[in-house]
């Protein structure tokens, strides 16, 4: 399904830790910094709460990319939540390619609640990356069926 790169606006599910990334997103808003409107922010209490199931479900429902945004390393609000999240993302990455999804579509970043510019940068870079990759193969599969 060829689509004009500029017209394709990727849908990204961003699981945001309520103690860091969610607040960073809020302050990005307060700073009137703009980012892709295909970003769906889903509030979670901790990145460690995001299950593999949720990540895969997001892809299944048609996300072109999934972001897990956790607290900075060594400074997780819940001590080890960001480490758990990292492990889980690594686990999913191991078979993502096998099921036909490019591993670049799933990324984990660590950022603090005062890092609004970094939030915007991370989200925009992700959107750019996904634009290069094109729409999710899962979506193409559904349409081509």
């Amino acid at each position: 399904m060829p689509e004009d790169k500029n017209r394709f606006s990727p849908k990204i599910a961003a699981f945001c830790c309520f103690h860091s990334a969610y607040l960073a997103a809020d302050s990005a808003g307060a700073m009137r910094k703009s980012y892709s409107d295909g970003v769906y922010i889903i509030r979670v209490p901790c990145a460690g709460k995001v299950e593999g199931l949720h990540i895969l479900q997001a892809f299944e429902k048609g996300a072109d990319g999934v972001l897990i945004l956790a607290c900075p390393q060594e400074s997780c609000h819940y001590i080890s939540g960001n480490i758990r999240a990292k492990k889980r993302v690594d686990y999913i990455l191991r078979f993502l390619e096998e099921i036909g999804i490019e591993p670049e579509r799933l990324k984990l970043f660590n950022l603090a609640s005062n890092q609004a510019p970094r939030f915007v940068q991370v989200v925009n870079e992700m959107a750019e990356r996904i634009k290069d990759l094109g729409p999710s193969p899962i979506k193409a599969g559904v349409i081509g069926r």
Partner: protein, 555 residues
């Protein structure tokens, strides 16, 4: 999903801030078409007193059983609306917020795109709301008595502070007397008080207060129970004592160690540690043993240690003042990161203490004929090779955890950090809290703190305890994380992964059980559980799934 949900959607334009690029009235008329939406309003300032009261009456009049807010971020408004819902008799956890101001209106320029995103966000919140389940709030009683382990400066300070806040305190000390490191120090300069006088002052304050019980030569053997209601088994002079406490403060201090391998030297008569030098200064009989040329070596045992730097400055200055002679301080690069340290450094320099900075190079230390020759490349003398000889070299030591931290760690069921000190819940936000609720750590058992920081830390820990248990009661959210006993296979994954050690085995039900008071609601157990036996209310699979459904829609 419960049957017949009746959702009330409350949109707020935040004083026309949101409606500037989001067409809220258009969204409103679309929302009214959704069958289970029983009520939609659009208001100017939803968080104002008047609007909140109105919201409360709408909830009770129209029998709404879910509330969806479209407005600012939950970090600002969540608590206000939860209170309003509680007042009108609705469970406050049946609330779902679409953050259309901070994460939409302010972010996306262009009315059409912003409006369609806001509409989606609100619909996502509505779908989540359909799955929300109420959470019961309950008060539980908390024991106000506090156990403090360690009668050093932090422990004594915490005890005094807590007793003034009207808590009954038990102060546990392993040695025969209180005081810890204060017994070994010579001066607390720039404080005028001597360690002995300070110790006497604190002990007098402790003795005066009837609600402090001091148990010397006593050790903690075992802790049972939960935060708020710990049962401690203590051994004193061989006889057991049992007491109940609501909170525990660990203030056991640190240890020091001379790293022979870093220096390539052994300690000897003229190579001594800072504590040994401190002892020489303290007892007047040893004053004639203090020679004319003294060197202090820093930053070799550790990259940087605040305690070593402060005591080198303090004791170097004291030796210079009292005995004259030459005092050298050798350091990698002096770091003055505590209040008053810059002043102390200037004072030492003004008094004639000479500083040498050797940067990344390592000085050569060679003892010969009762003297110690030190050779180093000085950073500030254009890397010139400097050779000096001292009669006495005072070396810095590594600050290390005490040997019994491991034992106390397993008794208290808390963690140690990568350096072996007590793990802080968060270095910046909760420095004195441990990973377990109700257990705190203060002083140099948790970090490299000098004397004045240790004092402040004792008070900080006391305040943290007071915050937890001042009223003798605490709110808990009953079964926010609920375990399905039929699905639980007791694999212990949740118990191992809980960062706050808030899960235990319920032997009656043969299932895991979350201790509501200790749980801090991260949901890691729910995510880790291989049997999906744990659900985190507010973030259940259904609730997250309902939001993900909207990824199917085209933007």
């Amino acid at each position: 999903m419960v049957e017949d949900t009746k959702i009330g959607v409350f949109l707020c334009d935040c004083g026309e801030v949101i409606s500037r690029n989001i067409d809220l009235s258009g969204i409103r008329s679309n929302l009214e078409k959704i069958s289970d939406v029983g009520h939609v309003t659009l208001s100017h300032y939803l968080c104002s007193q008047k609007e909140i009261e109105l919201m409360g009456s709408e909830i009770s009049e129209k029998g709404l059983n879910r509330v969806v807010i479209g407005g600012c971020s939950p970090q600002f408004c969540e608590v206000i609306f939860m209170e309003a819902m509680e007042k009108s008799g609705l469970n406050p956890y049946l609330l779902s917020i679409a953050n259309i101001r901070d994460q939409c209106g302010w972010v996306h320029p262009g009315k059409t795109r912003a409006t369609s995103k806001a509409a989606r966000q609100i619909k996502m919140a509505i779908s989540k709301a359909r799955f929300l389940e109420p959470i019961k709030k309950e008060t539980v009683s908390i024991n106000r008595d506090v156990l403090i382990i360690g009668g050093g400066i932090s422990g004594m300070e915490a005890a005094i502070e807590l007793s003034e806040l009207d808590h009954k305190v038990t102060l546990l000390e392993r040695e025969k007397v209180l005081g810890g490191r204060l017994h070994q120090l010579y001066s607390l300069y720039p404080l005028e008080l001597t360690p002995g006088a300070l110790l006497a002052e604190k002990i007098e304050a402790i003795n005066k207060r009837a609600n402090i019980e001091v148990l010397t030569t006593a050790e903690l053997l075992k802790i049972e129970g939960h935060p708020g209601n710990f049962v401690a088994k203590i051994q004193r002079d061989g006889s057991p004592i049992t007491r109940n406490f609501g909170a525990i403060v660990v203030a056991t201090g640190c240890d020091t160690q001379f790293p022979t391998e870093r220096y390539g030297l052994e300690l000897s008569d003229n190579i001594i540690t800072q504590l040994q030098f401190e002892r020489m200064l303290k007892s007047q009989e040893e004053w004639d043993k203090i020679p004319q040329k003294i060197g202090f070596m820093l930053d070799i045992s550790d990259e940087y240690s605040r305690i070593s730097t402060i005591s080198a400055l303090r004791n170097g200055l004291a030796a210079k003042r009292r005995f004259g002679g030459e005092v050298y301080i050798f350091c990698k690069n002096l770091k003055l990161d505590a209040p008053g340290l810059e002043g102390l450094y200037r004072e030492a320099r003004d008094e004639g203490v000479i500083f040498f900075k050797f940067g990344d190079g390592m000085p050569t230390i060679s003892p010969a004929h009762g003297q110690i020759n030190i050779q180093l490349e000085d950073l500030y003398l254009a890397r010139e090779l400097v050779t000096l000889s001292c009669d006495l070299l005072v070396v810095d030591e590594k600050i290390i955890p005490q040997r019994d931290f491991e034992i106390l760690k397993s008794i208290l069921n808390i963690d140690l950090d990568s350096n072996g000190f007590y793990q802080q819940a968060n270095v910046h936000l909760y420095p004195v809290s441990s990973i377990r609720k109700g257990i705190f750590s203060a002083g140099s058992c948790r970090a490299d703190l000098d004397f004045s920081d240790a004092l402040a830390d004792g008070r900080a820990a006391a305040q943290a305890v007071h915050q937890l248990s001042y009223s003798g009661k605490a709110w808990i959210e009953v079964e926010k994380l609920v375990v399905d006993a039929d699905k639980c296979a007791l694999c212990l994954t949740c118990i191992r992964s809980c960062p706050h050690h808030a899960i235990e085995v319920d032997h009656e039900k043969q299932a895991a059980k979350v201790i509501d008071l200790a749980c801090q609601g991260c949901g890691i157990c729910a995510a880790e559980c291989p049997a999906k036996a744990i659900q985190h209310k507010g973030y259940t699979d259904n609730e997250i799934g309902a939001q993900l459904e909207f990824l199917e829609e085209a933007i």
